[in-house]
C-alpha cells in the first residue's frame, strides 16, 4: 500500500522561515480547514511530492498556488515574498522514504527530487542517505537510475503493464494515469469519472487503469491476443513476399503462375501450383514443357547432321511456313497493343474514381465522428432537432424545399465503403487483364524476333554451298540445349520456393489453432467476480448515499469501460453513461460510490490498488450533510488502509460535528493559515 505518513512545507521568505507540518495515520484522516486557509495547497503539495501534479493540469511548479510559490500572506493582508520553498513527503510501503522537491529555488529545478531512505519528517533524523532523481524530464519515466516514477513504481511493487499507443508503439501505463482513480481533485475532479486523467496518446486508458488496479487477468489475455495477431501479420507479409518471388520466376520463364492465391491460406495440395507456358496455343506446365524440349533434343541428337544440299526442298517449305507464321504474329501483335492502351487508360480512370471515393469516405467518417462529438457537446443539431424550435430536422443543409430524405451518415459511410470495394475489385481485375495482355504481347514480340531470325537463317542456308553441313540444324540443337538448361535451373528454384511455401502454410496452421484457442471472452472467472463485486459495492453505496435519479436495477458496471452505465428504461438493451440521467448532486454520489467501490473491491481481492484514497472537498453541489455523513461513515470503515479527506464543512463547527458524530477518524485542523512562521529556536 501507499501510505502518506507526513508532509512538511518549508518556505523561506524575506521575513524568515515559514512552513507547515502534518502527520497522517491509517484509517480515515479528515483535514479540516475553512475556505482559503490553504487546504487545497496542502492537498496539491501531496500530489506535487508524488510528481502527480499533472492531475492539476500542468507540470512542475507552475501548478502550485502562489502561497507556496510567490508570496505568503500572514496574517491577512500582510505579504512576505518567497525566496525558496520545498515540499517534504514521507511515504511508506514496505519501507519508509521521504521525498524532497523544490517549488521555488534559485539552484534546484522542480524536475529534481531527493529521495531519502527513511523517515525524515517524523524521526527528525537529518543524516539519512539520499539519491537525486528526475521527474517528467525526457526519459525521466524510463531511466532506471534517475527516473523517480520508475523508482516509485518499484517502491509500490507495481509492474506497470505495457500498452499499445495510438501510434502503434508500446509504452508503459504512466503512474499519473493511474492516480486519478484514487486521488480526486476539487476543481475538475468532480466533473466526471477520471476527469483529471492526462492524455498520453493511448486508447481506453480508463479501462486499462481499472484493469490494472483490480489486477484483472483480462490484461494478460489481451496481450496474448495481440501477440498472435502480430505473428499473423508477420506471416502474411512473408507470404506476400513469397508470392512476389513466385511471380518473378513465372515472368522470367515467360509463363503465368497458376494455383497460388495472393492471400494467405492453408494449402493441402502443392501439386496444383505450377507455372503455365503456352506452346502452340496450348497450356502446359513448365515441367511438362521442359520434358518435351528434352525429348526433342534427344531426337535431334540422334539424327545425323545433314548437308545443305539435302535440305533444299525442306528449307523452301519451311521458309513458306515461317513467313506465314510471321504474318500471323505481326497481326496478333498489332491487334493486341491498342487493346492494351485502352485497358491502361481505363485503369487510370478507375484509379481516379477510387481516389474520389476514398476522399469522400474520409470526409463522411469525419462527419460521423463530429456528429457524435456534437452529441456529447451537446448540440441539438446532432440529434436532428432544431436548436431554436426543437422540431425534428433532416440531417442536411439542403434548402428545406428540397423534399429528398438524405441517407443517415452511417448508411452513407457503408454505401461509400461498398462503392470503394466495388471499384477496388474493378481495379484488381483490370490490373490482372493488363498483366496477362502484357505477357502475351511480350511473348508475341519474342516469337516475332525468333521467327525473323529463323527466316534469315533459312534464307542464308538456301544460298550457301550445297556441300556444307546445315548450320541451321546445329544452331537449333544448341539453342534447344541452352533452353533445357535454363528451364531445369528454373524448376530447381521453383521447387525451393515451394518448400518455403510449405513451411509458411504449416506455420499458418499453428497460428490459426493458437487463435482458436484464445478465450473468446477475455475475462477469467476471477475477473467476473471482481466486476460483479465492483457492481454490488457501487450500487450498495449509491443506496446508502441516497441516490435517486434511476432505479438501481437499471444500473450496472460496463464490461468494456468498467464505468457505471444505465438503461433509459428497464428492459431496454441500450446502456449509456450514467451521467446523462443523473442530477448534478446524484452524479457526485456516483463518483463517491465509484471510487470507493473500486477501493472496497480491491481490499477484498488483494489487488494492485495502493490502498489509498484522497478526496479534495468531496462535499460538492450543496450535498445534504446527512449524505456526506454516510459517505464519511463508509470511508471510516477502512481501518487498515488510508483515506484522506480534505473538507471545509461549510466553515461551520455545527456541520463538522453533525457529519463526523460517532465516527472513528484522525483530525488535522488547519487553523487560520496553512503557512505560518516557524520559530527558528524550535528547530535547533
Amino acid at each position: 500500500m501507499l501510505k502518506i505518513r507526513a508532509i512538511k512545507l518549508e518556505v523561506n521568505t524575506t521575513s524568515g522561515l515559514f512552513g507547515a507540518e502534518y502527520e497522517f495515520t491509517n484509517g480515515l484522516n479528515i483535514i479540516r480547514g475553512d475556505n482559503s486557509t490553504g487546504k487545497s495547497s496542502l492537498f496539491q503539495s501531496i500530489l506535487y511530492g508524488l510528481g502527480f501534479e499533472e492531475l492539476l493540469g500542468g507540470k512542475n511548479e507552475k501548478t502550485m498556488q502562489s502561497a507556496l510559490k510567490d508570496q505568503v500572506e500572514f496574517p491577512d493582508g500582510k505579504l512576505h515574498p518567497i525566496n525558496q520553498s520545498f515540499v517534504y513527503l514521507e511515504i511508506e510501503n514496505k519501507e519508509i522514504i521521504t521525498i524532497k522537491r523544490s517549488i521555488t529555488s534559485e539552484t534546484r529545478k522542480a524536475q529534481l527530487v531527493d529521495v531519502f531512505s527513511g523517515a525524515l519528517i517524523t524521526s527528525k533524523n537529518e543524516m539519512l542517505p539520499s539519491r537525486p532523481m528526475y521527474i517528467h524530464d525526457k526519459g525521466g519515466a524510463s531511466d532506471n537510475i534517475y527516473g523517480f516514477h520508475v523508482f516509485l513504481s518499484e517502491f509500490l511493487s507495481w509492474n506497470l503493464p505495457e500498452v499499445i499507443t495510438t501510434k502503434g508503439e508500446t509504452s508503459h501505463l504512466y503512474l499519473q494515469q493511474i492516480a486519478p482513480a484514487f486521488i480526486v481533485e476539487q476543481k475538475t475532479g468532480w466533473s466526471d469519472f477520471f476527469a483529471t486523467l492526462p492524455y498520453y496518446a493511448m486508447r481506453n486508458t480508463e479501462s486499462l487503469v481499472v484493469e490494472f488496479l483490480l489486477s484483472m487477468d483480462v490484461f494478460e489475455n489481451e496481450k496474448r491476443k495481440q501477440q498472435v495477431t502480430s505473428a499473423k501479420q508477420q506471416l502474411i507479409s512473408k507470404w506476400q513476399n513469397l508470392f512476389i518471388s513466385f511471380n518473378r520466376l513465372a515472368e522470367k520463364s515467360g509463363g503465368t503462375l497458376r494455383g497460388l492465391d495472393q492471400n494467405i491460406g492453408i494449402i493441402n495440395s502443392f501439386n496444383n501450383i505450377y507455372i503455365a507456358i503456352i506452346k502452340d496455343e496450348k497450356e502446359l506446365t513448365i515441367s511438362d514443357f521442359n520434358e518435351q524440349q528434352k525429348e526433342e533434343l534427344i531426337q535431334l541428337e540422334k539424327q545425323q547432321t545433314t548437308t545443305v544440299g539435302n535440305n533444299i526442298t525442306k528449307n523452301e517449305d519451311a521458309l513458306k511456313k515461317l513467313n506465314d507464321k510471321l504474318n500471323q504474329l505481326s497481326l496478333n501483335y498489332e491487334m493486341l497493343s491498342p487493346e492494351l492502351n485502352y485497358d491502361s487508360e481505363k485503369l487510370k480512370q478507375y484509379g481516379r474514381q477510387l481516389e474520389a471515393v476514398k476522399e469522400d469516405l474520409r470526409k463522411n467518417k469525419g462527419a460521423l465522428k463530429v456528429k457524435s462529438l456534437g452529441f456529447e457537446l451537446p448540440a441539438e443539431t446532432a440529434s436532428d432537432s432544431c436548436p431554436t424550435c426543437h422540431q425534428p430536422i433532416k440531417d442536411s443543409l439542403l434548402p428545406s424545399e428540397i423534399k429528398q430524405t438524405p441517407m443517415r451518415i452511417e448508411d452513407n459511410v457503408s454505401f461509400l465503403e461498398a462503392q470503394q470495394k466495388m471499384i477496388e475489385v474493378y481495379v484488381e481485375g483490370q490490373e490482372r487483364i493488363i498483366k496477362e495482355k502484357e505477357n502475351k504481347l511480350a511473348t508475341y514480340l519474342a516469337q516475332l524476333s525468333e521467327t525473323r531470325q529463323e527466316i534469315r537463317d533459312t534464307k542464308k542456308e538456301l544460298v550457301q554451298d550445297e556441300r556444307l553441313p546445315s548450320v541451321l540444324e546445329i544452331e537449333k540443337r544448341l539453342n534447344l540445349k541452352k533452353r533445357v538448361e535454363f528451364f531445369s535451373k528454373l524448376l530447381e528454384d521453383f521447387a525451393q520456393l515451394l518448400e518455403e511455401l510449405k513451411g509458411l502454410s504449416k506455420e499458418l496452421e499453428g497460428i490459426l489453432s493458437r487463435e482458436k484457442n484464445l478465450p473468446r471472452d477475455f475475462f477469467s472467472s476471477q475477473d467476473r467476480k471482481k466486476i460483479s463485486s465492483l457492481q454490488e459495492n457501487f450500487i450498495e453505496m449509491l443506496k446508502k448515499f441516497n441516490y435517486q435519479s434511476k432505479p438501481f436495477e437499471a444500473i450496472k458496471i460496463s464490461n468494456e469501460s468498467y464505468l457505471p452505465v444505465a438503461q433509459k428504461m428497464i428492459g431496454e438493451q441500450l446502456f449509456y453513461n450514467i451521467k446523462f440521467d443523473s442530477s448534478a448532486s446524484d452524479f457526485i454520489r456516483c463518483l463517491w460510490s465509484y471510487y470507493t467501490a473500486i477501493f472496497k473491491t480491491s481490499v477484498t481481492y488483494q489487488t494492485n490498488h495502493p490502498m489509498l484514497l484522497i478526496f479534495d472537498e468531496p462535499k460538492q453541489q450543496d450535498m445534504a450533510i446527512g449524505n456526506f455523513k454516510s459517505f464519511l461513515t463508509e470511508l471510516s470503515q477502512f481501518k487498515d488502509q488510508q483515506v484522506l479527506v480534505f473538507a471545509s464543512f461549510e466553515n461551520s463547527d455545527a456541520s463538522f460535528l453533525e457529519a463526523t458524530k460517532g465516527l472513528n477518524f484522525t483530525l488535522n485542523r488547519i487553523e487560520d493559515k496553512l503557512i505560518k512562521p516557524i520559530a527558528l529556536t524550535s528547530k535547533v
Binding site: 495510438t166 492524455y199 496518446a201 476522399e359 469522400d360 474520409r362 470526409k363 463522411n364 469525419g366 462527419a367 465522428k369 463530429v370 456528429k371 462529438l373 456534437g374 456529447e376 457537446l377 448540440a379 441539438e380 443539431t381 446532432a382 432544431c386 436548436p387 431554436t388 430536422i393 440531417d395 442536411s396 443543409l397 439542403l398 434548402p399 429528398q404 430524405t405 438524405p406 441517407m407 443517415r408 451518415i409 448508411d411 452513407n412 454505401f415 461509400l416
Partner: protein, 164 residues
C-alpha cells in the same frame, strides 16, 4: 407487343446519399476549426468563412489558395464559391451558441465553440488534412484587408467582362 403494355408502375422513394459537406454538424465543425486556426480573435466576416469553406471542399481548391498565399498573393486567384449551405450552418451554429454574431456582421467562437474545438482537436485522425492546411495558412495571412482587396479585384473583373 402486348407484353410491353405496362399496367401499373410504382415508385418507392429511397434516401439519397449526401456529400459530407451538406451535413450540418460537419459544416459547423469546419466553421469552428476555421475560426480557431485562421482568424484573429476567433472572429471572422462572412466572406472569409466562405473563402475557407470553399477551399476545404477539395484538394484542388486548397492548392489554389495555398499557392496564392505562398506566392505572396501574386498568383492568379480569381473567385471563390459562395454557398447557401454555409449560411445555414452558420445560422445553426449561432442557434447552438457555438458562434455568436458580433458587431452585427462578424462571427465569433463562443466558449462552447472552444469546447467543441478541443474535442475535435483531441482526435488526431479527425480532419487531419483540413487541420494541417488551416495551420499552414494561419491567422495572419488572410486578413480582412486581404479579403477586401481580393473582392475589389473581383469587381474589376466584373467591369472588364461587362465592357467586353
Amino acid at each position: 407487343m402486348e407484353d410491353l403494355l405496362i399496367k401499373k408502375l410504382s415508385f418507392t422513394k429511397r434516401p439519397i446519399p449526401l456529400p459530407a459537406e451538406y451535413r450540418p454538424m460537419y459544416k459547423i465543425a469546419l466553421i469552428v476549426i476555421i475560426l480557431k486556426y485562421c482568424c484573429r480573435a476567433e472572429t471572422s466576416n462572412l466572406l472569409k468563412l466562405h473563402l475557407f469553406s470553399w477551399a476545404l471542399a477539395s484538394e484542388r481548391n486548397m492548392n489554389e489558395l495555398r499557392d496564392y498565399v505562398t506566392s505572396n498573393f501574386k498568383s492568379d486567384f480569381s473567385v471563390w464559391g459562395i454557398e447557401p449551405a454555409l449560411n445555414r450552418a452558420l445560422q445553426l451554429s449561432v442557434a447552438e451558441n457555438i458562434c455568436e454574431i458580433v458587431h452585427g456582421k462578424n462571427y465569433k467562437l463562443t466558449e462552447k465553440g472552444n469546447k467543441f474545438f478541443e474535442m475535435i482537436k483531441a482526435d488526431p485522425q479527425l480532419f487531419n488534412i483540413e487541420k494541417s492546411f488551416l495551420t499552414f495558412i494561419g491567422k495572419n495571412q488572410i486578413t480582412d484587408n486581404r479579403i477586401t482587396a481580393m473582392t475589389q479585384k473581383w469587381n474589376l473583373f466584373y467591369v472588364e467582362n461587362q465592357s467586353n
